[in-house]
Symmetry: C3
Subunit: 363 residues, 3 copies
Amino acid sequence: MVHRIGDIATALGGRAVGDIGLTVRGAAEPSGAGADDLALAMSPKYAEGLRAGKARAALLWDGADWEALGLRAAIFVARPRLAMAGLTRVFDPGPEIAPGVHPAAIVDPSAEIGAGAAIGPFVVIGRGVKIGPRARIASHVSIAEGALIGADALLLQGVRIGPNVRIGDRFVAQPGAAIGGDGFSFVTPEKSGVEEIRSTLGQREEIREQAWTRIHSLGSVRIGDDVEIGANATVDRGTIRDTQVGNGTKIDNLVQVAHNVIVGEHCLLCGQVGIAGSVRVGDRVVLAGQVGVNDNIVIGNDVIAGGGSKIFTNVPAGRVILGYPAIKMEGHVESYKGFRRLPRLMAQVAELQKAVSKLTKSD
Amino acid sequence: MVHRIGDIATALGGRAVGDIGLTVRGAAEPSGAGADDLALAMSPKYAEGLRAGKARAALLWDGADWEALGLRAAIFVARPRLAMAGLTRVFDPGPEIAPGVHPAAIVDPSAEIGAGAAIGPFVVIGRGVKIGPRARIASHVSIAEGALIGADALLLQGVRIGPNVRIGDRFVAQPGAAIGGDGFSFVTPEKSGVEEIRSTLGQREEIREQAWTRIHSLGSVRIGDDVEIGANATVDRGTIRDTQVGNGTKIDNLVQVAHNVIVGEHCLLCGQVGIAGSVRVGDRVVLAGQVGVNDNIVIGNDVIAGGGSKIFTNVPAGRVILGYPAIKMEGHVESYKGFRRLPRLMAQVAELQKAVSKLTKSD
Amino acid sequence: MVHRIGDIATALGGRAVGDIGLTVRGAAEPSGAGADDLALAMSPKYAEGLRAGKARAALLWDGADWEALGLRAAIFVARPRLAMAGLTRVFDPGPEIAPGVHPAAIVDPSAEIGAGAAIGPFVVIGRGVKIGPRARIASHVSIAEGALIGADALLLQGVRIGPNVRIGDRFVAQPGAAIGGDGFSFVTPEKSGVEEIRSTLGQREEIREQAWTRIHSLGSVRIGDDVEIGANATVDRGTIRDTQVGNGTKIDNLVQVAHNVIVGEHCLLCGQVGIAGSVRVGDRVVLAGQVGVNDNIVIGNDVIAGGGSKIFTNVPAGRVILGYPAIKMEGHVESYKGFRRLPRLMAQVAELQKAVSKLTKSD
C-alpha cells in the first residue's frame, strides 16, 4: 500500500516539509532504505546512513537540514518514539487470515461469531462461545466452552483460551499463549513443610512423607480491554473467583500469571516475569524481564521493578525496586557497591585487628 | 449439577449442621455468593462478606455461629485447605470433550485407545500408541509413535507427547505442555570454554573458535502415576536412558526439565523452575518459582528451595535453602542482613581506620 | 536398523577391536544393555555395569581391557563426548513423518515445497512460502505467508513460523517453538517512568498516569544455517529491521529472544535465557540457564555467563561472568565469600569499635 508523506505526517500529528505529495510503501533504517521507503532517522547519528541509503523521504530529528541531507521530503514530530507507534501501525499489513470461517475450522453451532470475523483453518470454537465483530483468529486456535471475546480481537496461531474466559475489546494474543489453564494448587493431608517454614523461616520440626492432592480451579480468567499477551505466556484460572488482568495491560512472552492473581490497568509485565498465586498488582506497574513475585504479595500502583528482581514483601505505591530480594533501587545500588568492595573491606578489617591488637598490647 | 449439603460434608469428611438436605450448585466467595452457592468462609474475616452475599449455606471456620450468620446450613471441617481439594473436585465440571473419537482426529490404525476415551478434533495419535481407559484428550494434541499413556489421563489443548514417552495413570497435562522434545546437548571438536572454566572457575588458556555438533536423544521420558504438568512446560528426552518424573510429582507452568534428569516422587516444581541436564531430585522436594538447578547436581529428599534460588552444589536431604547461590536459608537471611547494612559497615570501618591511624601516631 | 561395529568405529573416527563384523541395533548404558546394544562405557566406573549387563560390544575408555571385560568387540575413540554425537546420530531413527504432503495439511497453492519433503497432518503453509528439499514438518505446524526455510529442516509438532521469517539450511525446531511473534514494544504519550529512572537510577519527579500504545513489528526474523530452537522458545520479529540468529547457534527450551536482537554465530543460549530488545550478542557466546540480558546491551565474542547471571552492562570479548548483576567470575566468587562471612565481619567491626573506643578514652 502507498502512503503520501503529507498524510503520514497528519496521522502522526507531525509536520511535513518538501514534496508532501511524495509516496512511500514502507519504513526502513536509513542505510538500508530503498527509494520507496520512509527512512527512520530520528537522531543525528543516522545522517551518514541517510546518505548511504536511497530514501527520498525521512522521519528526521529536530533541527535536521532535510535539503542538505539530499531528501525530497521530510517529517518532523515532537516525540519520535511515540511517532513510531503511529508509523508502524500505518505500514503493518497484519497477518493474512482469509475473511469468513475457514471450512476446516470447527465452530460449535451454539457459538456466536461477530460480523466481519476471519477464522482460520483448524480452529476449534466451543459451545456457547461469543466472539465480537472483526475478530481475526489464526490457524490452530482453540476457544473452549463459554468463553467471551470482545471486538477487534487478534488471536495468533495456536492460542489456547480456556472455559468461560472473558476478554474485552482489542485483545491481542501472540502464538501459543495459554489463557485459562488450571491453577497450580495442591494440598497435603497435614501441614506441609512449605506451610511450616513460612512461619519459622527455615526451621522444621518434623518431616512428614505426604502426597499432594489437587485443588481444582472453579474460577476462570477475566481480561479487560486493550490487553496484549505474549507468545507462549500463561495465565491460569482462579480457584473460586477469576484471575484478572486490567485494561491496557501488556504481557510479554513466556510470562506466568498464576491463579487468583489480580493485575491492574496499564501494567507492563516483561519477558519471563512470574507472578505466583493470589498476588495483587496495582495500576501502571512495570515489572522488567525475569522479575518474580512471591505468592500473596501486594504491589502498589506505579511500582517499577528492575530486571531479575525477586519480590518477597509488599511494595508501597510509586517505589522503584531492584534486587534479590528486591529493595529500594538506591539502597540496592549502595549495598551492591559494598558487595563489590567486600574483599578489600575484609582485608581492611584484618589490618585493623592487627593494629588494634598491637595498640592494646602496647597500651 | 446439584449437591446436598449433607453429601458434601460426607465427601469432605466434615460435619454438616442445619438443613442438611439443602442443595447447592456451586461454590463462591461469601460476598459474591448467590442463593444456590456454597459460600467458602473458612476464617472469621469472611463474616461480613457472608452477610453481604446471598448464600444460604457455607463452609465455616471452626467455632462460627452459623445461625447468627443467617445461614440455613453449614459445614465444618478439620483442615479447611484440605477440604478445598474435595470441594473443588465435587463442583468441577471438567472440560467439555465429546465421548468417542472426533471424526477430525487422526488415529493410526495400530494405536490402542482404552474404553470410554474421549478424543477431540485435530488430535493426532501415532503408530503403536496405547492410551488407557477413560482418557480425555482435548483438541490439537499430538501423541507420537510408541507412546504409552495410562488410565484416566487428561491432556488439554495442544499438548505434545514425543516418541516412546511412557506415562502412568491419572496424568494431567495443561495446554501446550511439551513432553519428549530432544535434549539440549552439543559438543565441540576440542575441549570447549565451558568445559575449561568448570575446572578453573573462570580462567581460560586459549579461546578456540569452534562449532557445536548435536548429540541426539535416543532415550525418551518416563512419568509415574498421578503426575501433573503445567501449561507450556517442557520435559526433554534423555540421551541414552529416559528422563524420569516420579509418582505424584506436580510440575507448574513454563518449567523446564532437561535431558537425563530424574525427579523423585511427590515433588512440587513451581512456575518457571529450570532443571539442567542430568540432575537428580529426591522425593518430596519443593522448588519454589524461578528456582534454577545447575546440571549434574544431586538434591536430597525433602529439600525446600525458596523462590528464585539458584542451586550450584549438591543439597543434603531435608535442607531449606535460599539465595543465589542457594545456601541454608538461615545463613542467607543473616548474610543478607549484612548486605543491607554494608554502606554503614563501610563507613564504620573508614572511621575506625582514622581513629586507629590517630592512635598509632599518638602511640 | 543394524550396524556393524567396524562401520560405527569408522563413522566415529575411532578404532575397532575384536569381532568388528558383530552387529548392534542400539546404544545403552552398560548395566541395562541387551545383547544387541552397544554399551557406552567411557570411564572405568562403568566396568561393573558392563559385567551386569548383556552387551557383547562397548564403546570403552582409553586403556580398558575389553577381553577381560568379557566383550567380543570394542571401540576406542579420542574424545568420548564427541563420539556421542556421531554415535547418537547413527542410532536416531528420527520422528515418523510420512513422505509427501498429508491430505489433512493445507498448503497454499503459491507455496513451493522442496523435493523429498514430508509434511504431516494439520500443517498450514501460507502464501508464497518456500521450503527446501527434504524438509520434515510434523503435525500442527504453521508457516505464515512469505516465510523461507532452507534444506533439510526438521520442524516438530506445533512449531509457529511467522510472516516473512527467513531460515537457513538444517534448521531444527522443537515442539511449540514460536518464531516471529510481534515484538513487545510500547510507548506512552509523554516520557514514562521507565525512561525516567534509566537516567536517574531510581529517582522520579512526577508519576504520570499514562496508557501504552503499541509499536508494531514491521521487521521479521532471519536465522542462519545449522540453528536449533528449543521447545516453547520464542523469537520475536524486529521493529524495522529483522531480529537475527547467526549460523550454528543453538537455543534451548523456553528461551526468549526479543525484537531487534542480533545473536552471533555458534552461540549456546541455555534453558530459560531471556534477551531483551536490541541486544547484540557476539559469536561463540554461552549463556547458561536462566541468564537475563537487559535491553540494548552489547556482549562480545566468546563471553561465557554462569547460570542465573543478570547482565546489565556491556561485556568485553572473552570474559567469563557471573552474578546479579553479572561481573567477572573471579570477582564475584571473592565478593560472595565475603557475603557468606558478613555476619562474622559485622561482629568483628563491633568488637573493634569497642576496643578502639576504650583505647581512645585511655589515650
